[in-house]
Symmetry: C2
Subunit: 381 residues, 2 copies
């Protein structure tokens, strides 16, 4: 009788209220009942995205949304700058290359955020770039990139779009899409939105829609213009992922019941408590610019991060995730987003310190839990 | 207290057993637990597809699978013959054109199946065609196309692939993928597989995999080779639609518990009973070559098919669907696939005859139900 804790970088835990909604008998999508679901979702998504524009919802996971963003904005041969500081930066860069874009990689060491000076320099050298691709949160490293500052710079460049992968950031941190000049913002269903994976959501600024008119890359399944046309009638171009959209309606209800300021503040507190708890037992954070959604921690010397992940799963029934590629075994990543509260984080850091001690790390078991508890009780940020 | 009957051309009804499975707390996809789900699904999908090859499972609806089939097999400029006898034939043709394929439309009047003589003729005239696109069942018209005979012809043409949209046919009718020479077979989750929409499944023959090596169309999200590489390790390239795959495991279990011969026979019986019930009250079928999954019926003179659809929904809580495009109002479509038994079909035809009488059609209410009951009791085909 060990309760299961899913504390990974996504998918995140699904509230019972959403699971129950999605387990109702399915309805047909070409009906008034389903149109009213879309109508509500449309309005409420705009407030979470902090945009006046409609959000295109696709039946695909986040990587499909990233591809959709590219094919709806560009033509083969267009130059784009890709901030590449982790697995997902690399993915977007590769994806853009596969579609014939001329990609300038702005390489950033894993664990670091892109520097604004460096970014401005690369942008100045490539003033013909039609777009900049960047993660709001790089999920593989737990790094938060300065998309607000980048947006302010790109706002002044009418011929360059700013495309942001906010899959592990939107609905967690205060991302002001319109105000910051984020032209295309992509997210998925399985992080802040507390749903199973299977939906991608993409916002497009007026500037992005103007690019869309000239974008020559081939598209049909991911054609935003067709989706928008249907969306304006509270419909979808293809059969939608009906049950996920019904779940999304409840997720948005829950997010708005909490209110967005409180939701952002909760994630900040949880992230802060997690970081301080890890530091309290002598661990070092991997990210120099940590995100509010996940915390990447360096495995202490002599302890294999993968072994920690496996032990947490087998002995404590807690799922966290290790590092990818060249940081595999060197880091572990703790998720604290979506349907996640103070006591989940206390449990998470307690389980982590228990498993570390089991593996021979010399920590005083209880210190991490004590630190998280102390911080969360105070409500400090 | 009116029970809800979803008797549409898809989505179909979802069994409680699947709904309950999918409403369990979500698990992470990079775990042994999830890999064992994929392993089981992989094996069991092969038997439903009747192929020795692996089935690629994508987080998208069927139209994404149709697009994936194209971009994985062809290069811009390749000639393909598209059987175009309804909304979905038209969709695949348009989709192919959007990706720069040279599409020869083999136009077929709505309601009719493609004639083998006509097909052979077009094929002879276009011997350089790299592919043929055809629906096993054209969902907009309820027509079953002769994909077995077409497959036999195309087997002899090593430079032409046969791509089959079996979204409303696979797992319903006895489609012998390998034996018939169906190189690419596409299906979705919301018909025979009794799941919400959100998964596309695609089989590829060895011949299709050889085409894949040379296919030049850009792809990343829909890259079959990457998916296959991951599948062979019981994993997926991107985050999969986890809960749908867990549901799929149960759906396949149910299909195999029934056994495929009985499942195909059940759908044949249900379709036959539906057709005879409609004829018993003087109605005419729209399809000259009716499918086992859905039945398209001509609305009787003076009765608007859309009004019938709306009345069935508002008064009887039964969802059927009308016609699309130029047959809107002229036909209505009854679904009898997936989680659908004898008494569902009796209820469906009973509701239909009640609603027709309400709309002023001169039928003896009860005749359709009697006919269906009589046929289903005998177990005739």
């Amino acid at each position: 009788m060990m309760k299961y804790y899913l504390m990974a970088p996504g998918p995140s835990m699904i509230p019972e209220r959403i699971l129950l909604e999605m387990s109702k008998p399915i309805i047909h999508h070409r009906t008034k009942a389903f149109e009213s679901v879309i109508e509500i979702v449309r309005g409420q998504l705009k407030s979470v995205f902090q945009t006046k524009n409609d959000i295109v919802v696709l039946a695909s996971v986040g990587s499909g949304g990233m591809e959709a963003a590219l094919v709806n904005c560009f033509s083969a041969g267009d130059k784009v700058i890709a901030v590449n500081g982790g697995k997902f930066g690399e993915r977007w860069s590769t994806q853009a290359r596969k579609f014939g874009l001329n990609v300038v990689d702005l390489e950033v060491p894993w664990g670091e955020a892109v520097q604004i000076e460096k970014f401005s320099e690369v942008l100045a050298k490539n003033s013909d770039a039609k777009g900049v691709l960047c993660q709001a949160c790089e999920t593989s490293t737990g790094v938060s990139h300065p998309v607000q500052e980048m947006g302010e710079i790109l706002k002044k460049k009418p011929s360059t779009l700013f495309l942001v992968d906010a899959i592990t950031a939107l609905g967690i941190s205060d991302i002001k899409t319109d105000l910051w000049g984020l032209d295309v913002v992509v997210t998925g269903s399985q992080k802040a939105f507390m749903l199973p994976p299977g939906l991608a959501m993409v916002s497009m600024s007026d500037k992005a829609w103007a690019f869309n008119e000239k974008a020559g890359l081939p598209r049909f399944y991911f054609d935003f213009k067709e989706e928008l046309k249907n969306l304006q009638k509270n419909q979808t171009h293809f059969t939608p992922a009906i049950s996920l959209l019904q779940g999304l309606k409840i997720a948005l209800e829950m997010m708005h019941e909490e209110t967005l300021p409180k939701l952002f503040n909760r994630h900040k507190r949880l992230a802060y408590a997690t970081r301080e708890a890890m530091k309290a037992i002598g661990l070092e954070l991997f990210s120099k610019s940590p995100a509010d959604s996940i915390t990447a921690v360096l495995s202490p010397p002599g302890i294999d991060g993968e072994k920690l992940v496996n032990l947490l799963s087998s002995k404590y029934n807690v799922t966290i995730i290790g590092g990818q590629d060249h940081v595999k075994g060197k880091i572990f990543r703790l998720g604290h987003m979506g349907y996640c509260g103070d006591f989940d984080v206390i449990s998470l850091v307690a389980a982590t310190e228990m498993a570390l001690a089991d593996l021979g790390y010399k920590n005083q078991v209880g210190e991490a839990a004590a630190k998280a508890t102390e911080i969360l009780h105070k409500g400090l940020i």
